[in-house]
């Protein structure tokens, strides 16, 4: 515990706050921490959706800061598609152990095994996450569910609220969402309903990366350039593995790649990259001419309204 020394700028016309100006990262961090604490104050059983991806890792980091020196008063929930990167599962388990957290895992495989879900012909498992997610929320009676969704990710999300009401089917009705004013979040809901909460709503991909750099947050190594056996499908580099690739017609090659997002192996593509450090990654993103999802997620390319439809079904 050290006392910080601030190097404070002088007041200028552009910056009337003078020594009391905040950088954009400080402003975003203060807002996200405020959101975590509001939920802790207003809900009985909140849970953080934790995938081991960078956004959920930043969420956890913010939650740790929000309640320091007390432990995070929320459990974690992970929906395991069964096609996760081993590096990510390993990271998840280490984070849980290090911070004394409680982890709930909902396995897609369990639902396929007992017939509640059927494997899709294309092998994609991301669309199958909704049922286990809602089952996990319902069986644990979670009333607030933190997600790492950001409003810059996709057009349908631009209208998402920080507090997003879901009915007993987990569905999102754009016309039932409440106006959200100032920093007054309304978490009132009926029994059986729950509220999805998005503390990173106002962050962009670049903000997240800059924050990871500033806070020196460790990430699963697949976010940085590494050599990997991949094959091309739908214009993306997919990882060869037991989940269903490569097919006969697809050729495996060894390439230097990194992942911009981390999801299910069957639909998360790698990009060619030699970015070995976080500074390299930030430079690459800032110069990139493809959005995060456009480059690396097959599931969002399904249709222009894909995300909107899946939110209505209770997906994030």
């Amino acid at each position: 515990m050290t006392t910080a020394t601030h190097t404070l700028p002088d007041a200028t016309d552009e910056n009337p706050g003078g020594p009391f100006a905040l950088s954009h990262l400080d402003a975003l961090e203060a807002e996200s921490v405020h959101i975590f604490r509001e939920v802790a104050g207003e809900f009985e059983r909140p849970v953080i959706l934790f995938s081991g991806g960078k956004d959920s890792i930043v969420m956890l980091h913010l939650a740790l800061k929000a309640f320091w020196p007390a432990p995070v008063p929320f459990a974690l929930l992970h929906v395991d598609t069964g096609h996760n990167f081993p590096e990510v599962l390993d990271y998840r388990d280490r984070a849980v152990a290090e911070h004394g957290l409680r982890l709930h895992v909902a396995h897609v495989q369990d639902f396929i095994d007992d017939g509640r879900l059927r494997e899709r012909p294309d092998g994609l498992r991301n669309p199958l996450q909704t049922v286990p997610l809602l089952d996990g929320i319902e069986s644990n009676k979670f009333d607030a569910v933190f997600g790492g969704g950001r409003r810059d990710e996709e057009k349908a999300r631009a209208k998402e609220r920080v507090f997003s009401l879901r009915d007993e089917f987990g569905a999102w009705d754009p016309r039932r969402q409440r106006p959200e004013l100032w920093s007054l979040y309304n978490g009132k809901h009926a029994v059986g309903e729950h509220v999805r909460v998005f503390p990173l709503s106002n962050w962009t991909e670049l903000d997240v990366w800059q924050y990871i750099e500033r806070e020196k947050i460790d990430l699963p190594e697949i976010y940085y350039a590494h050599e990997r056996e991949v094959f091309a499908r739908n214009g993306m580099w997919l990882t060869a593995g037991e989940w269903g690739g490569p097919k006969e017609s697809e050729t495996v090659e060894r390439r230097l790649v990194r992942y911009r997002t981390v999801g299910d192996m069957s639909c998360t593509g790698a990009v060619d990259s030699d970015a070995a450090t976080i500074g390299d990654v930030i430079a690459e993103i800032a110069a990139s001419r493809l959005t995060e999802r456009g480059a690396t997620r097959a599931d969002d390319k399904m249709s222009e309204a894909a995300m909107e439809d899946r939110k209505r079904e209770g997906y994030f």
């Binding site: 009337p16 706050g17 400080d26 740790l64 100032w182 009132k188 670049l206 947050i217 800032a286 456009g294």
Partner: protein
């Protein structure tokens, strides 16, 4: 893996950064747009995103594909911002959408609000967090009823800066007199509402004049482009000039071996600068005590300021909980009688005698709607008396009685501690947005003149 919470929050970013070394220290500006249906607002927002290089290749490809499919020769930039299927089908914008972009100088959050008459509530919503509002007019039509309404909403919500963007200058031959007349009329109207900071910019969103790039057609205009103004307008206020307001969100008590006696009050400073050693008052109880420590998210500090989220430790072990306000400087007097200007947000009307929940900062109490003094005609700013209820998009003057005392400031003094929501206790619906105290100067009129208010 280590989660080191002891980072110095002002450390500059390292590494090669195309935004330059300043990237970690740019300020954040939240602003809102408002414009009538055909003023070209979607095109303006699309142009801002496109010309500031915030539109990425795959997004632009999608827009080009759809535009070509409709037989348009150039990409329709308005398509960049139309999000929901219902809107794409109807070609309208039905709600507040948030857009994000950055330049080397600043990070922006844009609350993009529709401009139809029935969507007053959406502009109120977007303006509630905005430090600047862009009001768009069509150069051919000048200041119309909707323009005055947008200015009034910006004034009501106390948005500190207003920009008048006079669009479609290409359709009036880029004529200076047209622009000058509109700017003069709008500035005078805004001044009557108490809005003193108005900057007018002549633009063509379609052609790109003065949005991001300076116009080659308007040599007579010597001011900044719209984006330049957004990059340089002052952000925030000086918290050292404000009284301390710290609504308590949550009590942090680890009760573990390392921190057996730690008791901290977590919250976000709504205004002011708080220092270790400061004398403060806890409201509504009125107990006075001293700040013995401030923890800024895992590290100790001697000073914190709005809008930082911190944890405050106090000298005496007094009873402080969520919903209390730690205050310094001029102390508000807790009251159960709330007089406010409100905007009603829901199709379900608000009536005299309604029992609602009132959410103010971190405190939610029961409240009774005692009086609805008058509605404000947002176009003429005239008071319309005799209302027994408020309909959706109505702005009115109400008196409420609460079950417990609230530590309110006037909204004109403090947007965070002067604002509140009314919530339906039956299903949690957000009904009404409230601003404590009086709005701007409205004109009382004789009831006999109110034949159009049935």
């Amino acid at each position: 893996m280590s989660t080191d919470l002891h980072t110095n929050s002002t450390a500059p970013a390292s590494g090669e950064n195309p935004f330059g070394e300043e990237a970690s220290a740019t300020a954040l500006l939240r602003f809102a747009t408002a414009g009538s249906v055909d003023d070209g607002k979607s095109t303006l927002v699309g142009r801002l995103l496109h010309d500031s290089k915030s539109v990425l290749a795959d997004q632009l490809e999608a827009v080009e594909r759809v535009s070509l499919g409709r037989g348009q020769e150039t990409p329709d930039l308005a398509l960049l911002t139309d999000g929901l299927r219902a809107e794409r089908e109807q070609g309208i914008t039905i709600d507040v959408a948030y857009r994000y972009f950055a330049t080397p100088r600043r990070r922006f959050i844009l609350a993009d609000t529709p401009g139809h008459v029935q969507y007053t509530r959406n502009m109120v919503t977007g303006a509630s967090t905005a430090e600047l509002a862009v009001v768009l007019v069509d150069a051919r039509n000048g200041v119309v009823e909707q323009t005055r309404r947008h200015a009034a909403v910006a004034a009501l919500l106390r948005v500190p800066h207003v920009v008048l963007a006079v669009n479609k200058m290409d359709l009036v031959d880029y004529a200076e007199p047209v622009f000058a007349a509109i700017a003069e009329e709008f500035t005078a109207y805004a001044a009557s509402l108490g809005v003193t900071d108005v900057v007018a910019v002549p633009i063509s969103a379609l052609a790109g004049d003065n949005v991001v790039e300076p116009s080659a057609h308007m040599d007579w205009y010597g001011g900044p482009t719209l984006l330049e103004h957004l990059e340089t307008v002052p952000v925030g206020s000086d918290p050292s000039q404000e009284p301390v307001r710290f609504p308590v969100q949550y009590v942090i008590r680890p009760q573990n071996a390392d921190f057996p006696d730690y008791r901290g009050y977590a919250g976000q400073l709504a205004s002011g600068v708080l220092r270790k050693g400061d004398a403060v008052t806890v409201l509504p109880s009125g107990h006075t005590t001293t700040v013995v420590g401030i923890d800024a998210l895992g590290r100790e500090t001697d000073v914190a300021w709005a809008p930082q989220s911190v944890t405050v430790r106090l000298a005496e072990d007094i009873d402080v909980s969520r919903g209390d306000l730690i205050a310094g400087g001029r102390i508000p007097v807790p009251t159960k009688d709330v007089v406010a200007t409100v905007c009603h947000l829901h199709e379900r009307p608000l009536r005299i005698g309604d029992k609602v929940l009132l959410k103010h900062t971190t405190r939610t109490v029961r409240a009774l709607v005692k009086e609805i003094g008058y509605r404000i005609d947002i176009d003429s700013l005239e008071q319309r008396s005799g209302a027994d209820g408020l309909s959706v998009n109505d702005i009115g003057h109400v008196t409420l009685r609460t079950s417990e005392p609230l530590s309110l400031d006037d909204y004109t003094d403090n947007r965070r501690t002067g604002s509140f929501l009314l919530i339906d206790p039956a299903d949690g619906t957000t009904l009404t947005a409230g601003m404590a105290g009086e709005a701007f100067d409205t004109v009382a009129v004789d009831a006999a003149d109110e034949e159009d208010w049935v």
